[in-house]
């Protein structure tokens, strides 16, 4: 089955499904990438540039006794060896995280996870830098580590963060949402209650390009130019100003082409700071690029939520309430990238797509001797965990009630007339029409036929499973008054200039890592101004060249920056109206807009195109009062709410009864992200996210042994699906625009990563029903599936 339904019928009335700005056009990024002419971090070579390498801790928890750098410094090609003591002198040994904690840049007192940064060598080339790492002699006094989050608060657990004054245990925070008493009352009165521990194991976003930086500090004018693999260049600039004491106008952060981010490249890593210090110390540019094992062992992990889920329902299958208690493993430093007021991100969206009477969650974060992180890998700030929990619980309930899982969902959806819908944990869903999406997905899958096939196969002893998941995403953070990153409100800027000859440049504050912004943001301007996309350049990633904004993560580019770009184009259009009026000797209120042109109402021949208006705006004509010449504008967009895209996913798996090996045979994904800017790019985003889902569901885990050794520090053990493990994806869509967004568009990038793991696991558990399996945790490797078939399912770590 390889049919891909590219243009599913749009069940909504009218034609809101028309893509905007020329729709499915080829990407402006591609010509350089297919020629090998991209410019990624490690392609950058500056005159006199040196290379840095990080010495990393071999153990998870240890007191640092001494570091001897004598031999390394004596290496003929080494220029500097930096230790924690050197950083202490600069007050840079510790750096603030995005979660109001601090993280060690280099170890000064104690190692807190394996792979932690201990020293930094600066040498003339990357080979010499690595050689010199071998010449550093470090003495450690090994301490017992805390590895199992369930044991982190045991009375005898070692205190990991003894650097924090007054800290006597490993608790980071307790946080709750919803009404505990109301939820308890609903649970007490419910006909049916099911509960299940659901573990979302630690995984890693593992972008193909690892993290890196090239720092170039000019000691004469005190200016720092920093090339970085960052998804949020402006936020980084501000943080460097706060941390390093270099004034913000003297810092230029440049994010070049990025070889995938997936949330891995949001925060500031010690390596970036070390490249800066290396450049300051040597007076020359310093490049630092980590290798894969460093990336997997020390940069932002994802998930690691142990969730106790409960769901209450009537015996007829009306879902009444969901309740959950979460133990969150944050590693040794709380460096989770999320809005300040949301220590568990947007996990409280775990009420899902269902109209509930009550909901309650509590989340406890703990320190362990592991790398920091948590929010990454297309999670939309913990929505992956929230959706996985509720979609597993609904499936477990369906089994308990002996109802079809698709029917149970259809019975409980929030109805279209209930939007905007206020859920029980404080979110207001903007729009949704869930049933048509679910029906379309079932129709594309041939759902009833699949169930018949499954029955026949079961009679023959073959294991086939059908998994359903329906999710509501929460993307586009967000309104300034509610959402900030380290105090910076989550608005985004846009600047648009139309040149005298009618070509345009739009400057945006977000940063593509492959999502096609250079193409789609041009399409938004094209839609609003009628300038063709090929005549519009999109500039991003250089803080000297672009307006301030918070960057690309949480699928926020279209909701926030996309809104900014539509509005700045409308502002230019409005300015153009006044100039056109002067050119046409008409009153502005007498003009009418058609794409690309203002004309006099009732006299379509009398009009001026945007190009003509642009030339007029830059020329010698007398401009109307209050119009200052040129055709340009800027805006900062503070979105009124987030956007809530949704999707209906169906997965078909075959499980080998002899080996436990799972094959994802088909995957049907119906997504609704409102107005679609470029359907080709949306489909590519969905395909990538579905592959993430296969990776997480079947093969990925960052595991540790009891000594805290990371067992997944390379692609030998941390597995990524290849072309052999994934099917040809079947995608469809419906269109339910966001009513508050300037062009009705919602985010989409993370939807498939959020929605696919529960569909796959639901399918596997469905396949294993003959063995009495009602739940198993990811990753569903052959060995773990086999164990589950023998009744020995257990949590993955």
């Amino acid at each position: 089955m390889t049919t891909v339904q590219e243009h599913a019928p749009n069940p909504a009335a009218g034609d809101p499904g028309r893509p905007i700005g020329y729709g499915r056009i080829q990407r402006k990024e591609d010509p350089r990438f297919v020629r090998g002419k991209g410019n990624y971090l490690d392609d950058i070579v500056l005159p006199g540039m040196l290379h840095g390498a990080v010495l990393r801790a071999p153990v998870a928890h240890a007191r640092l006794v001494s570091i001897d750098t004598t031999e390394a410094l004596a290496h003929p090609r080494v220029l500097a060896v930096i230790t924690g003591k050197d950083l202490q002198a600069l007050n840079l040994a510790w750096a603030p995280t995005l979660s109001a904690d601090v993280q060690a840049v280099l170890v000064t007192d104690k190692v807190r996870f394996q792979g932690q940064e201990v020293a930094f060598v600066v040498a003339e080339d990357r080979y010499a830098a690595r050689d010199a790492l071998e010449l550093i002699d470090v003495e450690y006094d090994v301490l017992p580590p805390v590895i199992d989050a369930r044991r982190a608060l045991d009375p005898d657990a070692p205190v990991i963060r003894d650097d924090i004054e007054g800290r006597t245990d490993n608790r980071i925070f307790d946080w709750e949402m919803g009404d505990a008493a109301e939820t308890e009352a609903v649970f007490a009165a419910a006909d049916v209650v099911v509960s299940q521990e659901v573990v979302y194991p630690r995984v890693h976003p593992a972008p193909m390009e690892t993290c890196g930086a090239v720092a170039d500090f000019d000691p004469v004018d005190g200016r720092l130019t920093l090339y970085e693999t960052t998804q949020a260049p402006h936020a980084h600039r501000t943080l460097y100003a706060m941390v390093a004491g270099i004034p913000e106008h003297k810092i230029r952060v440049v994010s070049p082409d990025i070889g995938g981010g997936f949330g891995n490249k949001v925060g500031i890593y010690p390596g970036y700071v070390l490249a800066v210090v290396g450049s300051i110390v040597t007076g020359r540019p310093v490049k630092w690029v980590e290798d894969r094992s460093e990336n997997l062992m020390s940069t932002s992990f994802a998930r690691d939520y142990i969730m106790q889920g409960e769901i209450a329902a009537t015996k007829e299958g009306k879902i009444l309430a969901v309740r959950t208690s979460v133990l969150a493993d944050h590693g040794a430093f709380n460096a989770t990238a999320q809005p300040t007021k949301n220590p568990a991100g947007f996990f409280s969206i775990f009420t899902g797509s269902y109209d509930l009477k009550a909901a309650y969650c509590k989340v406890r974060g703990v320190y362990t001797n592991k790398a920091p992180g948590g929010v990454a890998y297309a999670c939309s700030f913990r929505v992956t965990e929230a959706v996985y929990l509720v979609e597993r619980m609904v499936d477990i309930l369906a089994r308990k009630l002996e109802m079809d899982p698709a029917e149970l969902r259809l019975k409980n959806f929030i109805r279209p007339e209930q939007f905007p819908y206020a859920n029980k944990t404080g979110w207001v869903y903007d729009s949704g029409n869930y049933e048509p999406a679910m029906r379309l997905s079932m129709q594309m899958a041939g759902y009833d036929e699949l169930r018949r096939e499954q029955l026949e196969k079961r009679e023959r002893g073959e294991l086939m499973g059908i998994g359903v998941a329906f999710f509501t995403e929460t993307v586009g953070a967000g309104p300034r008054k509610h959402f900030d990153i380290v105090g910076l409100g989550m608005a985004d800027g846009a600047e648009l200039r139309v040149h005298p000859t009618g070509k345009a440049v739009v400057r945006i504050s977000v940063q593509s890592q492959g999502q096609g912004h250079e193409t789609t943001f041009a399409q938004i301007v094209a839609e609003e101004l009628g300038i063709p996309p090929e005549s519009i350049d999109v500039v991003h990633g250089d803080t000297d060249q672009t307006p301030f904004g918070l960057g690309t993560y949480g699928s926020r580019s279209t909701p926030v920056s996309g809104g900014a770009v539509a509005l700045v184009a409308r502002k230019v259009r409005e300015k153009a109206k006044f100039i056109a009026a002067a050119m046409l000797e008409a009153r502005p209120e007498d003009l009418e807009w058609e794409k690309g042109r203002w004309f006099v109402k009732g006299d379509p021949g009398a009009g001026k195109t945007i190009a003509e208006i642009a030339l007029g705006a830059h020329g010698t004509m007398a401009l109307p009062e209050g119009i200052d010449g040129n055709l340009d504008a800027e805006v900062t967009y503070d979105p009124p709410n987030l956007t809530f895209p949704f999707g209906a996913y169906i997965c078909v798996v075959d499980v080998d009864a002899g080996t436990g090996a799972v094959k994802v045979r088909r995957f049907i994904a119906v997504d609704d992200c409102g107005t679609r800017i470029n359907p080709m790019i949306i489909e590519g985003q969905v395909h990538g996210g579905l592959t993430d889902g296969v990776g997480m569901a079947l093969m990925q885990i960052i595991a540790f042994d009891e000594d805290g050794n990371c067992l997944s520090g390379s692609f030998m053990d941390y597995l990524i699906p290849t072309a052999m493990e994934v099917p040809d994806w079947e995608t469809g869509y419906t269109v339910t625009p966001s009513p508050h967004h300037p062009i009705g568009a919602k985010g989409i990038g993370e939807s498939a990563t959020v929605g696919s793991p529960p569909a796959i696991v639901n399918a596997i558990v469905d396949a294993l029903a003959p063995y009495g399996v009602t739940h198993m945790d990811m990753p569903c490797t052959p060995a773990r599936v086999w164990e589950a078939m023998q009744g020995r399912h257990g949590p993955p770590v």
Partner: protein, 174 residues
């Protein structure tokens, strides 16, 4: 030590340390940065180049082992400003997003099409199974290669007309 090889048709000769990996030689010594480096265990394939027409992971070949061989990188795919159909196919079918795996994928596809001009989807998937992509989910890569298969090289078309003596001769000497 002194090594010489042909890279994208040009003769190059350099004095290098024996331990230098071919990927670093290509990227840092020759400045051909289209070839990427994505792992340290030979799994990802972002460093794939063609050595005598065969895809090799250049992170797992010493530059000195390429002495006397013919290397082709992504920069050598387009001929005389005309894109290889594989390059065109990746653009037509949205076979790339961040672009990091793309050069290696395209070179493997070129090698596949050179020995099997009409592969089925399974053959394409197997051919690229030594290479990881994090963005595309592979389906559009398979379609990109199929697009290229349906749009043969201009030189092949010319060869069919019996008018490609020069390029054939070049292949033989290479």
């Amino acid at each position: 030590m002194q090594i010489s090889m042909k890279v994208n048709g040009d003769d190059v000769s350099r004095d290098i340390e024996p331990r230098v990996l071919l990927v670093h030689f290509i990227r840092e010594v020759l400045g051909l940065t289209g070839t990427h480096w994505g792992c340290d265990t030979t799994n990802c394939g972002t460093c794939v180049v063609l050595m005598d027409g065969q895809p090799v992971k250049s992170c797992t070949v010493l530059a000195v082992m390429a002495d006397g061989h013919d290397i082709r990188t992504v920069e050598g795919l387009a001929v005389g400003g005309t894109l290889d159909p594989v390059q065109q196919g990746f653009m037509e079918e949205h076979g790339l997003q961040c672009g990091f795996c793309t050069p290696g994928m395209m070179l493997t596809a070129r090698a596949l099409l050179d020995r099997n001009p009409h592969p089925d989807d399974a053959e394409i998937r197997e051919a690229i199974s030594g290479q990881i992509c994090r963005c595309t989910g592979y389906a559009t890569i398979v379609r990109s290669v199929q697009w290229a298969a349906a749009h043969p090289l201009a030189t092949d078309a010319a060869a069919d007309d019996g008018a490609a003596a020069e390029s054939t001769a070049e292949e033989v000497t290479a």
